[in-house]
Symmetry: C2
Subunit: 303 residues, 2 copies
């Protein structure tokens, strides 16, 4: 959202609204682009965009880190966020089981860290000064180590080592070998994350003792993904698993979708994390902009 | 906008819409807070906010710089933006006349730089590592100097020196001694800024040879302020001056308001920088959320 400066959209009645703003600051009337960003084509069809570009970073510092507990993960995130002064660009957390799963089987080569630690973090900093940024990155990691925020760390010494660290994190499609597979994209406060994952795990254990649960996420953004295999190969457990994952989120102010939207798949669960007044207001907008329900009908809100 | 995570608003019919989201990423349905941010209370009354906090910066590096031409101002901005890797936090440009005006009269003490250069930039970097950030800041300034992007520079060596640099920039209220005084808050592309200011100056010169024009701005955001004194003490030239300042903006995709909104004062000029289709869509929103026109009536859009 922050990187979209302007756009053009076609409304349900055919009107072309051209708001190809190039400015960083424009407070002349309503910021209309916000109507079309993230609304899944239900209020208008985006036909052009103005994107904000930023300077290509000069420095890139990457490390793979092992952490002893979730409290430390949180403190390590806060510590590095402060120490890197706006340059923290990735904080990808892999729960122990998921790291073990990714390393297992056909994966060749030496992993950056041995399996068996409770949490792994792929952390990266992007900045503008190669030497000073590297010094800052390494000093921050060393300081984190002395504060017991991490128990082991491997710093990438070359692009090849950096690529192989990211290859582990990006090998998510390895999950697609599992059947059945239910993937989730939830958002919640960092302070609630451990208890939430514990609760989901306990519920899964009670219902399907032979389930599989893999957790990873963009913790810097408070967004985690759960990959769950449970029930029969035919995926018949889907609704039950979805309910189990989504139900706790309402009470803790979480969201059933951090990144991927609602579409059709999550429509029935929207009211689990958004209030009646919120959904009514969404309907008011939909009615005002698309009274005949022509635009991506049935998505997000039931017709 | 980026620092507002959630809010509560009261709608025209009394409904309280509570969207007190605390998450950085939430893509569950429409992002309703965007309806209320920057709409000047015309679509709902904001009663609560959730603000995003960031780590307090550890380092603060500040310099006052003189630049020989506007091209160099632009290149200096791009250069420092890249070199500081996300830590550039202020890039305040003062045109020659305005710096001279601020230094004039009762202002005591030594200014950081002598008057007479075409442009002055107050630049600041906020970061997380005192020593490395200072090294980076000074190295970048030295490199900019060798590339002829700046002609003189004073780096603040103490909090006192930093405060006195900011005091110059912040002494804007000194303008209020001038009568009449018309203040503007426009946004436009950096590449158009010099020609735009030249055009405004030439028009003022033609119409009021004894006018005063002072220009300064947040160039990092593409936002400049013009302070103009022209015509009789009674402010009777206001409409003429406004037209002169706002008219060129439409053709170059600028905005009549970067920060301060439309309210009543700029309502008649809204169509000079927003299209008919955009204003119609604003009216559609207003009609949908406030059909009786109860909320801040007459502001932004004429009733």
């Amino acid at each position: 959202r922050e990187l979209i400066l302007g756009l053009e959209a076609v409304l349900a009645d055919g009107t072309v609204v051209t708001s190809m703003n190039h400015m960083l600051k424009n407070n002349a009337g309503y910021d209309l682009k916000q109507l079309f960003i993230g609304t899944e084509g239900t209020l208008g069809i985006v036909t052009r965009l103005v994107l904000r570009l930023v300077q290509h970073p000069v420095s890139q510092d990457t490390a793979f880190v092992a952490v002893a507990g979730f409290d430390q993960v949180t403190r390590f995130l806060n510590f590095m966020d402060a120490a890197l002064g706006g340059c923290l660009s990735a904080f990808e957390v892999l729960w122990e089981d998921f790291y073990g799963f990714l390393l297992g089987g056909s994966q060749a080569g030496n992993p950056p860290l041995p399996p068996g630690y409770p949490y792994y973090v792929l952390i990266e900093s992007l900045g503008g000064h190669r030497q000073a940024d590297r010094q800052r990155f390494q000093a921050a990691l060393e300081q984190a180590m002395t504060q017991d925020l991490l128990v082991d760390a491997a710093v990438a010494k070359s692009q090849r080592e950096r690529d192989s660290m990211w290859a582990i994190r990006d090998d998510v499609e390895k999950l697609l070998q599992i059947q059945p597979l239910f993937l989730f994209d939830v958002s919640l406060a960092l302070k609630d994350t451990r208890a939430y994952v514990d609760e989901v795990r306990a519920e899964l254990m009670r219902r399907w003792p032979d389930h599989q649960l893999y957790v990873f996420g963009h913790l810097g953004d408070g967004n985690i993904h759960l990959a769950i295999s449970a029930g029969g190969q035919d995926g018949s457990a889907r609704s039950e698993v979805e309910a189990l994952v989504y139900r706790p989120l309402g009470a803790i102010g979480g969201s059933i979708s951090a990144e991927h939207g609602i579409g059709l798949e999550k429509r029935r669960y929207l009211s689990w994390c958004r209030s009646r007044a919120e959904i009514d207001l969404m309907r008011t907008l939909k009615q005002a902009l698309d009274p005949k329900g022509l635009l991506n009908p049935g998505k997000v809100l039931a017709s």
